[in-house]
Amino acid sequence: MTTTLTPPPSPLEAMTPEQIESFGEEMDAIRQRLLADRGERDATYIRRMIRAQRRLEAGGRALLWAGVFPPAWLAGTAALSLSKILDNMEIGHNVMHGQYEWMNDPKLSGEQFEWDTACPADQWRHSHNYMHHTHTNIVGKDRDIGYGILRMSEEQPWKPYYLGNPLWAALLATFFQYGVALHDLEVEQPLGDEAERAEKRKLAKGIWEKVRRQALKDYVLFPALSGPLFVFPLAGNATANLARNLWAFTIIFCGHFPEGTHEFSEEETEDETRGQWYHRQVLGSANLSGGPLFHILSGNLSFQIEHHLFPDLPAHRYAEISVEVQEACERYGVPYNVGPLHRQFGSVVAKIFRLALPEQRPSVSLGLAGAGGAAARLGGIAKRAALRAIPGR
């Protein structure tokens, strides 16, 4: 190993502090403009989505009641899958971010909304809105990096368990709603003191209650309505849950793991300014290109970059502001990662396989990192010291 090799500069340090703050001010200006423009159009949009979801669900369940007829089963399963996808992504996820709180409608309050999936909404709001959105892509703080069971970053030290990375990923995708439900419980962490255990018992109870209610509805009550033909709605409901799981997993894993997104260390993100926070959100997120229907079904998480910059602004507006955001990123030289689903997801799958194996020893792995991998495996402090040694920086 040669000591003359310098790690690639951290993307966080690609701009001067003044540039970063000016970038942040531009982002704040976009936010301000959208806030001032928020109104009836947004209220109408979310109500239309809710209306579509409730109709798809009612229609889907009615068709599945008569699911013994194959066309009814297929149409019913498709409608219910779409209903669950809309409910979870464009409605639930976004409403629970507080995107529609300004409407003062208790049914659209971020704090009260409950969604059609196994994860209790209040636990989601903690693990997602706070933990993930505040600490995006900070290894050790953002548990969305691998959901506690996958290795999605070189910064996570390899262990033999990760040989199963592709298998664990396939299982997580299949049972995604339960993976999300268990998220806040941090089951992979060692149990702490009695207070912590009591807290976890409380969380587990909440999860069990929600899982039970969801399962009762999809696997007992609605099938029971079909009497001896219960197996058709049962299979339809299970298929709809599976379809939603696979879709949500695909979209969500394309948000932060495609090639070119960055992870960060706790050290390098300490005492962040607002401008630095904005900068990190762009560096750690990736967009998906596609048509209007694709964006709706992804809950506009296809605009992951805009979502992470402005998590509490109505998501259907991300498309229109993405033009300005992208333009600003170009001007400041901030990489704006966007690509079609097959390409972004392809690179996520490649990463899942690649990270199943340990990296080579440092002399080689630095070369790998230089080829566009994430930040080098040196700690943030060492990295900063190295950067200071480069003349002109």
Partner: protein
């Protein structure tokens, strides 16, 4: 809202319809079908004067009625957002329909919207009826009503209820308005006075001297003409603060128990103070502290009021809490709002003057 204990049938329906509940589907058919929220459809709109509108409302089955004199909070959607305002129904007790009259306030978001744009078929939110300002049971032997501006509305409910139910003891109304054209319910009051000899109607038009039975703003000298034994009458006064202050002074010496007042202040006119002025009231915890000007989250923590929080930078909405009254400013954007009953983010909001939180 009407808190109800769910019946087993209802619970089964909700288990089928979870997590949104059966109401989440019923309201897609008809917004009035919900049973967990009180809502009302506007069935008639009458623009009595240019400055006011009278709405007839048909509440859904969650409505549990009101006592004459009480008020309800009406939620009106303006540009996508619901705004709550208090209105006193003017209709008599015990009718299936409610009547509210809304007077335009020059800068009032909701009053302007309703006066200009309310239409039959619109759906409004309703709270349960509130307020101690109500006709006592049994009815008092004589009644004096003092009303100014839109403060006439709860007094109309009282008058209409009394006459609908055959009250024949002395009733007097001192009614203050700028001029006859702006006197809400003028025609109906004249009809009532003509029909019921026990009812004395005395009007004072403050900007049209000579047009009414009295002149000028309220003063004790208006009283002997209306109810010689006013000291014995149960008195109900409703109107702007200036009127109520004058009334309170007159009823000061030992007569306070006979006086019931209801203040009508347009909420948008609630004065905003400066950062660091006034007091923060945590209504849910019963704690009040002097406003230090810091973020409301920091002030809650300093006062020992348990507040949820997350990012502390206005992103995650963990600390979102209902502001009941007062003016707040967003520490990041500098925007201010005096809207009552509003969800705000404590970590990036500070109070301008007195402010009360549900926390």
């Amino acid at each position: 809202m009407s808190p109800k204990l769910a019946s087993p049938g209802r619970r089964l329906l909700d288990a089928f319809a979870g997590p949104h509940g059966i109401d989440g589907y019923l309201e897609q058919v008809d917004p009035l079908l919900v049973s967990d929220q009180c809502r009302a459809e506007v069935t008639a709109v009458e623009r009595g004067t240019e400055q006011s509108v009278t709405l007839t409302l048909r509440p859904n089955r969650a409505w549990q009625g009101f006592r004459a004199g009480q008020f309800v909070q009406v939620a009106v959607e303006v540009d996508g957002a619901l705004h709550q305002r208090c209105y006193s129904p003017a209709s008599p007790e015990g009718r299936p329909e409610l009547e509210i009259t809304v007077k335009r306030h020059p800068e009032g978001l909701v009053s302007n919207y309703l006066v200009d744009r309310a239409r039959p078929g619109a759906v409004l939110g309703l709270s349960a009826a509130e307020g101690d300002f109500q006709l006592p049971r049994p009815w008092p032997p004589s009644i004096l009503l003092v009303g100014g501006g839109s403060g006439i509305t709860p007094l109309m409910a009282i008058l209409r209820t009394l006459f609908a139910q055959g009250y024949d003891r002395p009733v007097a109304l001192l009614h203050y308005a700028p001029d006859p054209a702006r006197a809400i319910y003028r025609a109906e009051l004249e009809r009532l006075a003509a029909r019921h000899p026990s009812f004395r109607l005395l009007r004072s038009y403050t900007r049209a001297p000579g047009a009414g039975e009295l002149d000028g703003h309220f003063s004790p000298r208006h009283l002997p003409q209306s109810e010689p034994r006013f000291a014995e009458a149960e008195t109900f006064a409703c109107g702007p603060p200036s009127l109520l202050n004058a009334v309170r002074e007159t009823w000061a010496e030992g007569l306070e128990q006979r006086l019931h007042v209801e203040s009508f202040v347009p909420p948008t006119l609630a004065p905003a103070g400066e950062p660091g002025e006034g007091a923060i009231r945590f209504a849910g915890s019963g704690v009040e502290v002097a406003n230090s000007g810091a973020s409301l989250l920091e002030q809650a923590e300093a006062a020992g009021v348990p507040a949820k929080f997350g990012c502390r930078m206005g992103i995650c909405h963990t600390c979102t809490c209902r502001k009941l009254t007062g003016t707040h400013t967003n520490l990041i954007t500098g925007e201010t709002s005096s809207e009552p009953d509003e969800e705000i983010q404590l970590c990036v909001s500070a109070a301008l003057g007195d402010l009360s939180l549900a926390l």
